[in-house]
Subunit: 217 residues, 2 copies
DNA sequence: CGCTCGGTTGACAACCGTCAAAGCGTGTGG
DNA sequence: CCACACGCTTTGACGGTTGTCAACCGAGCG
């Protein structure tokens, strides 16, 4: 599978691609980090996916939106696979087809998790869940998390403003849930349990209603 | 591919599955509509995906969340494929593998679109984009959209409250962008252009800055 | 040294969630 | 056939949260 890949090293902020229409390549981050952004007619940017080492991106078409893939850490290495060739390989080798399938499902899972984070009500929860997810995805066993992105990128990723991201950070820091180290992008998770529950039963579980009935149609 | 499927007809509000852990089946909506919901420790529900006829759902694992798939219209027909068998078929027949791949990529695309909607700033934009997407997905050429879901489901889907959904609807109606028919779930799109742009240059494009430089890391 | 950019904090207005209440539609039972 | 009840929808009032604007700090760099 790696035989048809062309790996390239990118600088921080460098665009891997940025276009509208059919995308003829699939990408995979080998080291560093990259963001998948959509530039809206509006001028506003939104980051709809964050790629860490091992993550995969396959975009079929980008109708009516301008997609952009961009490195966010210095020296990010990305493998680029021609779509045509990878499809042919998958057709001829079931193992490769299975691998591509798994990568696609991982992408689905990643996006679903992101949807859950965006569905949170308060910004503090969003940032808390984001930090938790980043801690998981970065895979370090320690509680130290070195964010690969700026606050601006976090804001675009969580669909909130930069100032709100900062405020959420300091709020979590004041609560003693996280600790902001000297280095700006380095964060230590102090109380992981509080991050996971967060607002859960903040004011006691006064809503004793068991949510058995899901539907209301 | 349809040989291994077991199709079942469901009532409105009936659960197709609801569990935590490994999901051993993949699903496809043949007619009607279904929602993929996550019940959080909190008790709050969030709809992370909406399945219309032709749409596909494959969940690998639902670690740490309880996933539920539930019909939202009466008489929804859903095909259920055992994961094991569909993988074996895909391994033996490249055409099936390709089909599964395409379905997975469509799921990715659907989730990305939903992320874009959730990334909108105001609730009116969210509802407007949602209606536009529903109009596209339902595929009717006319401007009439019959929503398959309740306002509660829309709220859980857009991560806003029910009241806000109603207010956004009436706001759009007051602006003359949409028309609320007598039937509650029937909506007519009057000014499609306004829905697409929406807030775009509401107060003139005072931010003349061309967003060439995407990155700020 | 001055510049730029990222990060942080404050003030204020607008938006949205919550609580409350009232209008509708549908289905069921009398 | 009608009355009632229940659930969905809508609207209002109010307080909390967040976006926006503004200013300041610190670090990197020419």
């Amino acid at each position: 599978l790696e035989a048809i890949a062309t790996t390239t090293r990118y600088h921080c902020g460098q665009a891997i691609f940025s276009q509208t229409g059919q995308v003829e390549y699939w990408y995979r981050v080998l080291s560093g980090a990259a963001k998948v952004a959509v530039i809206q007619f509006n001028g506003k940017r939104q980051i709809i996916d964050l790629l860490l080492p091992g993550d995969f991106l396959a975009v079929l078409t980008t109708e009516e939106h301008e997609f952009a893939l961009e490195a966010i850490t210095e020296g990010t290495v990305i493998a680029c696979y021609p779509r045509q060739q990878i499809e042919e390989l998958a057709d001829s080798d079931p193992r490769i087809a299975r691998e591509v399938r798994i990568l696609a499902f991982e992408t689905v899972s990643r996006l679903q998790e992101q949807l859950l984070i965006l569905g949170r009500t308060t910004s503090t929860e969003k940032v808390g869940c984001f930090l938790l997810k980043m801690s998981e995805r970065l895979g370090h066993r320690s509680d130290k998390v070195v964010l690969p992105m700026s606050r601006y990128d976090i804001a675009d990723y969580l669909a909130i403003s930069v100032e709100t991201v900062c405020r959420a950070m300091t709020t979590l820091s004041d609560r003693g849930v996280i600790a902001l180290s000297g280095k700006r992008r380095s964060i230590r998770i102090v109380d992981r349990g509080a991050l996971e529950e967060d607002h859960d039963s903040e004011f006691g579980d006064r809503n004793g209603q068991v949510p058995k009935i899901i539907s209301r149609s």
